[in-house]
């Protein structure tokens, strides 16, 4: 025991001392410790706290020499690649965006879009891998996002708090609506999803013996998995169900009918359109009838019509539609 006390423990204390010194040095090198994010104001200071705290922006971005992350663009002035800090850069990026889309983007619109739809206009040389900051696990509120926008605009840009908070442009406002809905949802609610389903899907799809027959029967759809359901809503043409291919019929007068082929008999073909209208064309009058695998009868702008909350709700509702064997 004497040996332990007199030789081993001093040795241990030296080792632990080195360990503590390494921890201390690294903490100093990386800008000190952090504290829990308190409620923040919509201000550059509040945004800075979110950026380096709860928002975890520092995981992928740096601001000039502050931080060491390089997965996303540096938000400060940094080397030849980033000659302007974010606020000033946003003006330039907004102009490019306006030219591309033919709409009038302001710097604030550009930054808000980057947060609301990160994949919309990715900086060259970077991947579209930014996390959705208003969904779990980051889950920033709209107020916190506005604060981050203020912080980024304050980095060399014209900080206009009205444009960020009190009087946003129409475009920014539409992004804010999307963020608010998602933040409020915090995940899907199957009960609300049933209502959304009733309003948007029943007309075309059958579920447990009830509903229309234009689209595939969704009874037991959860067996196909979340990815399939999600893709079917957002990009319906990508995951067409066999027997529900989209046909394009052109008659001899050049009129085009797009929809499902619901009847094909000796002399006639029925095409059922997305709105439920049925067009009957005599085969003799048909110029061409082809499957178009790039289109779906299901509206492809459904995701625009649904809010994020509706989308999450309906996903959770459909995921509850278990195949019979599992029920």
């Amino acid at each position: 025991m004497n040996v332990t006390v007199t030789r081993v423990f001093p040795f241990l204390l030296i080792v632990l001392g080195i360990f503590l010194w390494i921890g201390y040095s690294i903490t100093e090198l990386t800008g000190g410790g952090r504290k829990a994010s308190a409620a923040v104001d919509i201000s550059p200071e509040g945004g800075e706290a979110i950026y380096w705290g709860k928002g975890r922006c520092f995981t992928c971005h740096s601001v000039g020499g502050q931080g060491s992350a390089v997965r996303g663009p540096n938000h400060g002035q940094f080397g030849e690649k980033f000659p302007f800090p974010m606020g000033a850069r946003a003006e330039k990026r907004a102009k490019e965006r306006s030219e591309k889309l033919g709409s009038n983007f302001s710097a604030v619109d550009y930054i808000v879009e980057s947060l609301a739809s990160p994949g919309a206009y990715v900086v060259q040389g970077y991947k579209n891998e930014m996390a959705v900051v208003y969904a779990p696990p980051i889950s920033l509120s709209l107020k916190e996002i506005k604060a981050v926008v203020a912080y980024l605009m304050s980095l060399g840009g014209d900080l206009d708090m009205e444009a960020i908070d009190t009087a946003p442009s129409e475009m920014t406002n539409s992004f804010y609506s999307k963020i608010s809905a998602a933040a409020a949802a915090g995940g899907g609610d199957p009960t609300a999803g049933a209502v959304v389903y009733e309003d948007n899907c029943t007309e075309c799809h059958t579920l447990n013996g009830e509903g229309g027959e234009i689209g595939p029967d969704l009874t037991g759809i959860s067996g196909k998995g979340l990815k399939f359901i999600s893709e079917s809503i957002l990009q319906p043409a990508k995951s067409l169900t066999k027997g529900f291919e989209t046909y394009v019929l052109i008659d001899k007068e050049g009129r085009q009918s797009i929809g499902l082929k619901t009847r094909d008999e000796a002399g006639e073909v029925d095409i059922t359109k997305a709105n439920g209208d049925v067009v009957t064309v005599a085969k003799a009058d048909t110029k061409s009838l082809k499957v178009d695998d790039t289109k779906s009868v299901m509206p492809d702008d459904l995701s625009e019509g649904l809010t994020v909350k509706d989308y999450q709700d309906i996903l959770s509702y459909l995921m509850l539609q278990k195949p019979k064997a599992e029920q």
Binding site: G65, F78, G79
Partner: protein, 713 residues
């Protein structure tokens, strides 16, 4: 108060009931807590104004240190006992008993700390724990029952050691009954492996259960024939109970990181099995299992080192030198696959959440991982140093001293590459000097995953090479395998072919894989196929090594196989990793799997050939146990300190990845402590826990010494 009973040969049994009750009370508290829902407002409390998170963190860390020791030691104690039993060598039996003697106090301390941790969690984090208890109540009941099993098995194993020593065989009928039971369990195991039982189970969970519960039980029943084998069977049961307890507790930790069956409102709508078998539960369990084994080995090794330093006689020195060697051997055996288990866990973390994955490698924890790299690199270098020091006790080993400098060079270069970060915080001026890039033009490559994967394989190969030199230290010439009978040939052939098949099946997977499975276009198939061709080449090298060994050219076979493997895993795949990263980055994970499979197969085949090459070879003299420098014992102690710090650090990373969420994405931490602590705070917490744990160990060793003194051992 401890109660004493007498059983068998009259040795006292200490039933540590108060401690057990404390732990069980914690569990009961958990079971009676009313379930809460994730969106309810969280309630937080404090005890004496102490930061609740740091308190719980500290208690959890202490519980895990002692728990890891208690779970790790029986794993190798039973194996050592089996070696002694099989070879009829009393020395090994005594060593296994000495290792087990360290467990008694540690077990009681683990239980006491577990109870304290449960109380702290339920009183300081009532909402969170209510939610967890609501989901895991069935598993918590099972946990409590297993706790009884573990307790009885441990005390029976330790205190029944001398009582269950007889080798007088049981009645033949009874022996046949045990063998029949073993066959039934084995058949059930085969059905389970084939997926006939639990078809929906994750493959890692299935193999974990198969290898750590079903197979040991089948073996245990198969060998049951007398009291001594019954004692070994109890040891197996002890490990089965211990592993199951760990796996259940891991499912809670895993659920907190990768919750399943929870709806958008945070209400649990899944099944208990879903919650138990969450994505990260088994990867964590695999990593922890190996970690416990290495940790248990090294803590036992530190016991031997302390005893060696204080030894008064050559006999004592010889005994504790040998004990330290065995402990270090166990630790290295577990350390070798540990980086791969860590890689698998990391991959599953990324699969669970890219945010959590990015946070791990590029966010709060990127610097913590650099500290971790320092610690793990140190573990390998110090282990090698201990082996090299051990060569001084081997007559004839001086022939191999010349290789040590090359191994050291390989280790240092690998260590340096492993430590190289991809980028560092730089000033604008420094960026300008590097041509406007934040990355160094050359060193940036060393910071990327392909370089890290290559050097970790080289470190393992270098360590294995040290071990081969150690093994061959006192043998003169290899012996003929042809003359060793069928047993040697069959063993080499079966083990060799199994290892080659392991690589071969992955080669086929690579050759037939559709790039679409990795979301890659068809023209990227060549990047996958190349790995397949390389693995086929590796299989050819493996087969050549087996054939050469059977033709008495085993050393040549080993050399060819090691050289091919070293080239494939470090040079070829090291470079190919960069190509893949640029052109088809999802294939990078397949590169890592290919590296692991080649390395592990090579190590297995080369070891088996080596065993028979030098079996009964002419010796240059017996090992001079005890002829070790005191410095080497400090190396052994340092290994224990480093692995203990590393365990604490890894726990910090794993738990911290959730960010400010109690349950990732479901229940947010809304307390005043909801932020990631700095690395300095981490070193304070972990350092404090390590210090206290080591004081606890010193106390355990002291008690062990008193017990040994009383028995006159």
């Amino acid at each position: 108060m401890a109660r004493h009973r007498r059983i068998g040969n009259g040795k006292p049994i200490k039933v540590v009931r108060p401690v057990l009750w404390l732990a069980l009370a914690g569990i009961c508290l958990a079971l009676t807590a009313s379930p809460a829902f994730a969106l309810e407002e969280n309630v937080y409390r404090q005890f004496l104004g102490i930061d609740s998170r740091r308190l719980v963190w500290f208690l959890a860390q202490m519980h895990l240190f002692f728990g890891a020791f208690v779970l790790g030691v029986p794993l190798f104690a039973v194996i050592i006992e089996v070696v002694g039993w099989n070879n009829k060598d009393e020395k090994f039996d005594k060593l296994a008993y000495e290792f087990t003697s360290l467990l008694s106090v540690a077990y009681a301390t683990t239980a006491a700390l577990g109870g304290l941790l449960a109380f702290a969690l339920f009183t300081l984090y009532p909402t969170f724990m209510g939610y967890m208890a609501g989901i895991f109540k069935d598993i918590m009941f099972l946990y409590a029952l297993l706790f009884f099993g573990e307790t009885f098995a441990l005390y029976l194993y330790y205190y029944g050691w001398h009582w269950l020593k007889s080798d007088r065989p049981f009645a033949a009928n009874l022996q046949w009954a045990f063998k029949a039971l073993a066959l039934v369990i084995a058949a059930a195991g085969i059905a389970f492996a084939a997926g006939l039982i639990g078809p929906e189970m994750r493959i890692d969970t299935r193999w974990f259960i198969l290898l750590l519960y079903i197979a040991p039980l089948a073996v245990g029943f198969w060998i049951l024939r007398d009291l001594k084998s019954s004692h070994i069977f109890i040891g197996i049961l002890l490990n089965v109970f211990g592993t199951a307890i760990m796996q259940l507790a891991n499912s809670w930790a895993g659920f907190m990181m990768s919750p399943v069956g929870v709806d958008g409102e945070g209400a649990f709508v899944g099944t208990v099995w879903q919650a138990f078998e969450n994505v990260l539960a088994t990867p964590i369990a695999i990593h922890r299992m190996l970690g416990n084994l290495a940790f248990g080995g090294l803590v036992a090794g530190s016991y031997a080192a302390v005893k060696f330093i204080g030894a008064k006689t050559p006999e004592e020195k010889a005994h504790y030198d040998w004990m330290g060697y065995i402990s270090n051997f166990v630790a290295i055996a577990a350390l070798i696959p540990l980086p791969f288990a860590g890689y698998y866990l990391g991959r599953e973390v990324y699969s669970t959440s890219a945010v959590m994955g990015n946070n791990m490698m590029g966010g709060d924890f990127s610097w913590t991982f650099i500290i971790q790299a320092m610690l793990v690199g140190s573990l390998f270098i110090i282990s090698n140093y201990y082996l090299w020091s051990g060569m001084t006790r081997i007559p004839g080993a001086e022939r191999y001293y010349k290789f040590i400098k090359y191994i050291l060079l390989a280790l240092i270069i690998s260590f340096a590459i492993w430590l190289t970060p991809h980028n560092l915080p730089l000033s604008s001026q420094e960026v300008g000097e590097m041509g406007g890039s934040q990355y160094h033009p050359m060193l940036k490559f060393l910071g990327l995953m392909p370089a890290k994967n290559a050097v970790v394989n080289l470190i393992i190969l270098a360590t294995f090479f040290s071990f081969l030199l150690y093994r061959r230290g006192n043998v003169l010439e290899a012996v003929s395998i042809r003359d060793q009978g069928k047993g040697a040939k069959i063993t080499i052939l079966v083990v060799g072919l199994a290892a080659v098949a392991l690589v071969g099946q992955y080669a086929m997977t690579m050759l037939n894989m559709d790039p679409g499975e990795l979301d890659l276009p068809a023209d990227r198939a060549e990047y996958i196929r190349m790995i397949g061709y390389l693995l086929v080449f590796e299989c050819v090298a493996g087969l050549a090594a087996i054939a050469l060994a059977l033709m008495d050219r085993g050393k040549l076979g080993q050399a060819i196989y090691l050289a091919v493997t070293a080239f494939n895993v470090t040079i070829f795949l090291g470079v190919w990793g960069f190509v893949v990263m640029e052109k088809a980055s999802p294939v990078l994970r397949n590169v890592a799997v290919a590296q692991f499979l080649q390395l592990i197969s090579c190590l297995i085949v080369v070891s088996v050939i080596d065993i028979f090459l030098f079996k009964r070879a002419k010796s240059l003299g017996p090992l001079k146990w005890g002829r070790m420098s005191v410095r080497s014992q400090y190396a052994l102690l340092l290994l224990t300190f480093v692995i203990t710090m590393n365990m604490g650090l890894m726990g910090f990373i794993r738990s911290g990845l959730r960010g400010d969420w109690h349950i990732f994405g479901v229940m947010r931490d809304t307390s005043e402590w909801a932020h990631t602590p700095s690395n300095f705070v981490m070193t304070q917490q972990v350092g404090g826990a390590v210090l206290l744990f080591m004081i606890g160990c010193a106390f355990m060793f002291w008690l062990g010494g008193i017990a040994a003194g009383k028995k006159g051992d």
